[in-house]
Symmetry: C2
Subunit: 465 residues, 2 copies
């Protein structure tokens, strides 16, 4: 009781001294004042499945949230494109609007929740919201990958919150783990299985020996994969998420292009099988390393050890491994997508921001360290172990030529297996010791036009640990 009264007093005092500033500025400044028991009002941008889930959770848990935040949370306005479409029962249809200005000019709205997706319009709405002193919660990964640094800066300048737990890893609390649990530690490395569609396809290929195209078609039929699956299976989705994680984990503002991005399209079932024989599972990984002067960021298929925790992250699950300087390894795994996990993460952010507003310091939620522009480590400088497969003519001298080409580039070999030839073609599989990607690439180039090579060489990177 004393708590509420004291805050009301401080608010009144402020209003008395406000004669020199405009009413908008008072409003803006007042947002940093502790609340006097008035509800925190939200504007919701978008009311699809995630937005509907948010409304449902806010309604169902209203009493509990009021207890936790100290004041009620109230949805004041909901922006949709089509006001006549059916929506969740929890929506009071009188809140619907098709004009974003109904939200962005409403002085009582303190939190803008963006769950529409898309980059241009959504980004502009978020910028306007932050600039006018409102905190923002968003699940928009593509937008954050591109405009994250600018938006974080804008939130910092305006001392408001910008929260986006749902943008990476759906229901996995990775953003708050980097922000809060690693607050006194440095993340030196992170590795993620960040794309559920790719992981589902790879799991089916591994467990059932299925072919890439068959599983992709099946996944599309089941609705796990989009009709245009490029964002998922060509690695762009994972790369966007990696970009957001790198920003928080390394305080880096890497350039927009130049990242090594490969997907799993066209992965041959033979390589999945052979990897298994060497004790590995093929996964699509996104890897970030803080290398001081540069940040190493890459997304591609990779062989991971069967005994690693990552190997058993199967189906549509996602996982993220953070390697802390003092904390050591910390692995988080869970549903990387889905309407309800995403809605739960959005609501967790709303509660954080609301509590910070009530406490008078919405900015504490953003919590990013100042971002520094840092170049990407050139892909040629990556040092890894490699899996190489060459389909070659089954004739004398071939192995010597292959070994010679690798040796000239000082690529050292750990394991070599040549399978028995079929129709005059043999498969040579090589696991290298650690080598520079440029050296491996040069050796493969030197072999590329050899008469004995029956198909382009296959290269897969190996992620240890």
């Amino acid at each position: 009781m004393r708590f509420v009264r004291a805050h009301a007093t401080s608010r009144a005092n402020f209003a008395d001294s406000g004669s020199l500033v405009t009413s908008a500025a008072v409003k803006h400044e007042e947002r940093r004042r502790p609340h006097g028991g008035a509800p925190i009002r939200l504007g919701l941008l978008g009311c699809g499945t995630v937005g509907g889930g948010v409304l449902r959770l806010l309604t169902k848990n209203a009493a509990e949230f009021r207890r936790r935040v100290g004041v009620p949370i109230e949805v004041r306005r909901v922006l949709v494109r089509d006001a006549d479409k059916p929506r969740v029962d929890e929506l009071d249809r009188s809140l619907l609007t098709t004009k974003v200005d109904d939200i962005l000019t409403d002085e009582d709205i303190e939190i803008v929740v963006e769950v529409m997706g898309g980059e241009g319009f959504a980004g502009d709405c978020i910028e306007r919201a932050l600039s006018s002193g409102r905190s923002v919660v968003t699940a928009n990964k593509a937008l954050l990958a591109r405009r994250g640094p600018t938006l974080l800066e804008l939130a910092g300048t305006n001392r408001v919150g910008l929260a986006f737990e749902a943008a990476v890893g759906g229901g996995i609390p990775v953003i708050r783990t980097i922000r809060d649990a690693f607050a006194s530690d440095d993340v030196v490395e992170l590795t993620g299985i960040l794309n559920g569609t790719s992981n589902y396809i790879l799991t089916r290929m591994t467990e059932d020996g299925a072919l890439f195209n068959d599983v992709l078609r099946e996944a599309q039929d089941k609705g796990y994969a989009e009709a245009d699956p490029s964002l998922d299976i060509d690695g762009h989705d994972a790369a966007q998420k990696l970009m957001v994680l790198a920003m928080l984990a390394f305080g880096a503002r890497p350039p927009e292009s130049g990242m090594l991005i490969e997907g799993i399209r066209g992965l041959d079932a033979v390589d999945v099988k052979l990897a298994g024989q060497f004790g590995y599972v093929v996964k699509h990984v996104a890897v970030g390393k803080d290398r001081g002067a540069s940040v190493e960021l890459r997304a591609h298929a990779a062989l991971v050890k069967k005994s690693s925790v990552f190997a058993n992250v199967s189906g549509v699950l996602n996982a993220i491994r953070l390697e802390g300087h003092a904390l050591g390894p910390c692995l988080l795994s869970g549903r990387g997508a889905g309407d309800m996990p995403t809605a739960v993460s959005v609501v967790a952010d709303i509660l954080d921001v609301a509590r910070a507003i009530v406490a008078g310091a919405p900015g504490i939620v953003t919590g990013a360290r100042p971002l520094a522009a840092r170049p990407l480590t050139p892909p040629s400088e990556i040092v890894l172990r490699y899996y190489l497969r060459l389909a070659v003519a089954d004739e004398p001298g071939v192995m010597a030529e292959i070994a010679g080409a690798l040796g000239r580039e000082r690529v050292s070999l750990s394991q070599i297996v040549q399978t028995e030839g079929k129709d005059g073609t043999a498969q040579v599989v090589i696991i290298t010791h650690e080598a520079r990607e440029s050296a491996v690439g040069a050796a493969l180039s030197a072999l590329a036009d050899k008469r004995f090579l029956r198909a382009p060489a296959v290269l897969l990177r190996i992620e240890e640990g």
Copy 2:
């Protein structure tokens, strides 16, 4: 700048109106006022390896923490038993005291950090700190398992923070995940590998076929296991951590005794090997389920599927899987113990509490829902699949008697393997379908005094998922 000025104003106003209350009460009340730029002052109880790590992190990251909290964090006093012992370089020895009252009566100390361990004295210090309006950060799992509900209540009454991330799972951010990420969801079930010593022993038994006693002795030599290993290998450490997790995850205040607690002492290498043949790995697990009227809590060895993520959590790593109603499964894994992971978690808590104090609402860190006294599900009512091994005389009719005893209790069998007899003794291994623990127990009791049984039957529970 405006931020600081405005808060300073509100503080001054408060002081003006304080004439009717005592100075101590003003101090107490003032703690809920936003800071005017003054440092947050800590009292540190204990300066062993964890306490030293905390001092080191606070010193190293002072500038960054100041930015994040808004004001400096200052260690004001450090309680030790022996003021002459060597300590970390980061310690200013003039801060040392051997009298706890130097900390608990110092009105400027706003956060008490307890890293001494032990229950009686540490518990009394924490109670006094909370009662006098100070927030507390502790890593003391044994104390929380016993007095957690009382301490949470005390923190609630005094509207101060009580944070204890380091008490469970060392460097794994499980407490804040339950508190924040699951804020709008219900944890319906949790399973943990919570004891690093047991997991190390089981990993060595699984990977190298080693014997329990040999690995234990080796672990003691290496310092992974205590000279008296009972707390670890008899399941008590895991049970205490489970108690703390259940309190937060289920809002339950279960009775102090009556939990099913078993360790791994005396586990037979034969069962580890046979489990492997059925596709399982033996792990020591702590399991909690919200069953509405009761909470099911148990800690014991169990068979987990080789394809589960848990199976690959090896060595001294810990892992916790939370099953949310909407979020689905969420797995966290990392170092469960160790001085630096623990210190990092303690410092993360200090930052949370400090930010909340600066914001004027230290209580928001505690975040526990009201606890309800709830009974434990009686172990007899547990429903699981079971692994049973019976060493029996290799003679006709034995299998019929075993199957008959299980059948009479309506325990249905999924797999049966009888190994070839050696010296007239055969091993019968049975994997049951789901059954009530009481039914399996009754069947084994009925078999216990049979002439053909060569040794007490072995029962291991199976954890799916």
